[in-house]
Symmetry: C2
Amino acid sequence: MFDQPMRPTSPTIGSDTPTARTAPSRPRVVIVGAGFGGLTAAQHLAGWPVDVTVIDRRNYHLFQPLLYQVATAGLSPAQIAQPIRGILHGAANVRVLMGRVGDVDTRRRMVQVDDREVAYDHLILATGARHSYFGRDEWEKYAPGLKKIDDATEIRRRILTAFELAETEDDPVARRRLLTFIVIGAGPTGVEMAGAIAELARRALARDFRRIDPRSARILLVEAGPRVLAAFPEALSQRALGSLRRLGVEVKLGVPVSAIDADGITLGAERIASATVMSAAGVRASAAAKWLKAEADKAGRVKVQPDLSVPDHPEIFVIGDTALALDPSGKPYPGLAPVAKQQGRYVAELLRARLADAPAPGPFVYRDWGAMATIGRNHAVAHLFSRYMFGGLFAWLLWGVVHVMFLAGFRNRLTVLMDWMWSYVTFQSGARLITGGPRAP
Amino acid sequence: MFDQPMRPTSPTIGSDTPTARTAPSRPRVVIVGAGFGGLTAAQHLAGWPVDVTVIDRRNYHLFQPLLYQVATAGLSPAQIAQPIRGILHGAANVRVLMGRVGDVDTRRRMVQVDDREVAYDHLILATGARHSYFGRDEWEKYAPGLKKIDDATEIRRRILTAFELAETEDDPVARRRLLTFIVIGAGPTGVEMAGAIAELARRALARDFRRIDPRSARILLVEAGPRVLAAFPEALSQRALGSLRRLGVEVKLGVPVSAIDADGITLGAERIASATVMSAAGVRASAAAKWLKAEADKAGRVKVQPDLSVPDHPEIFVIGDTALALDPSGKPYPGLAPVAKQQGRYVAELLRARLADAPAPGPFVYRDWGAMATIGRNHAVAHLFSRYMFGGLFAWLLWGVVHVMFLAGFRNRLTVLMDWMWSYVTFQSGARLITGGPRAP
């Protein structure tokens, strides 16, 4: 239990004094997960008469939309991650706990964190999702997904190591396998990964090797569905496909992957040898449904009420990628950062109304400002306000501005912007390090 | 074997054409290690009629003098590491191999790299040193040293995790242990580490926690010898000691560490509980002496001739931390970056003279421009031209200028400078990420 303050006279923690803390009137809000949803909820509860505890198993908030640039050596991890404590240090009624949640006792209203328990009056679960292999978990070691920083540095290690090994490989068949890179899944992450690997090979690495020509690398983007960026209008899918092909990415649509192993993949009946396979295909929600013993869909998402609370538990909310929330037409909201952020804000506002005995807001409705995906230098597609669609240089600039704007921390914004401008001018990439893993013990 | 070029018609590789390659007159120079010594040698052989192969088990050159700032969350790894291929890509007669050297066959003149062999006519071994535990190798897991990027991110993980665990710890004794940080060895690295941890605790982290006060952390610098910075003049040691104490570092001199285990250290008869112990004490040279079956000193350094060649092997040179080279008075040169760089340049010039049948240069003599160590914000000590000594703000500014100047790569210089200025103004540190390790699986 973490309820006794230990620095009662500290000058820096504002209302977090013994009087305030032991006053029975301050409800305890526990938020699990400091991704887009959880962090936004915490920020919108800052300064209100509640004691908020944010629990995350990592000490940083990660800006996942740019994680693929860490995986492809464009950015450093610290540029897209910000310590949670740093973001929330001005919020005196919010404390941060680093720990792993293992279960929730909904009867006693306790969250189990490592070997301790944290009590709540209101609980917000924003625990996100992981990549999924549709039941083929053994594929993970051959085709890692991209959700965490350690995933990204591992993928970076594999990509850069493949070029290094190809340089010393005498057998042309083995060399071909080393220079074949496969990305599975052509959603935004897959498209962005494939485009970034192509640019790395064709530009940043082009002059660095003596025996191989990195420009000859084969980059495959493989998708079981009929088109890339299936969540976008068909015209933008076509446009993105054209940009990918011009970048030299081979796109294979409509054929599912039937096997992945150490030597490569099987695509329908075709065998493709590759040393570096990445998965950007499926996601699976966190274990929140299991903790709550709540109803979930096939992807593990908790079915929530229109106000994002869990049936029969008005004190528990599930938001972001872990929630199956339906729009007014009955369609599930997609697992996107803006959805999670709006849900975090909505729940904070609902709690504030509830605490003030004010009327509750109406059901959650997502305001769709738009979606974007970048393919490479000067190429992106954008679909704004569910109406306007465009691609090319302007979409690419807009993509850059929006992503820098939403990054947490002024310094990160500045250094990411600088690195992008630098890479744009020099065609170089800044973080081509092989760290960790068996090759660099 | 790596002798057949595979891109004979590539327009980018200049003289690296079949004609040039197969001409019997081009001697093969193999350089093992792309640290300060090896890289400098390669740069001074660029453009000369030799075929140079640089072998390193990593793909980057590391600017070790700033590694402690990665370990203390000030800088990101990519800011102090530069891909070797990128540095040397303009040198058409130099190729880079990523691989691990396991042995040297001096009779057949072959270097064994992984499961292959590379032939040489001249060999330069610049394989550096690792930390040493004076025969107590079991200490390494409790007190990691600081030589590689993965060491630095591991130490960063341990330091930041200790604060996180202390925040959730109820037992005051256990909390004290978590907030006690011990650095063993008060050479430049140890002094810089201890100072940086103190600043991290007192400034960057001070406002981020609710239950603990990071400013109460105990930082110990432990040294068996009688003073800190033993390689500097006594007056500067005194000055550094004063600066360390003002920063809140407890310095214990003259008592050797007699035990290190999971709970802390034993210092003489005193037991000090600590969750985070780091070693900056001893170094041990790489295995080069073993490969060559050459005479070595206790630290494993190969005894070299005045021209840095190995006795009876005028075609083999050992430079940098792996070499025991003596100055004109018979004293060994210290293991410093400038020594390694001057030796790399010397050997390159000697080889160029040898190939041109010009008279060989005289024996290697180190030109000592000076040494510096920084303690923290506004505090450093400098000893220049073996004559001038000073400390304080001016030394600190000079230290910063020199270190930025010697960093490889314009972008790294720029971003390091920006990060330093940012931290100076805001008291924040930029890379406070807990990655890797058992806490973030």
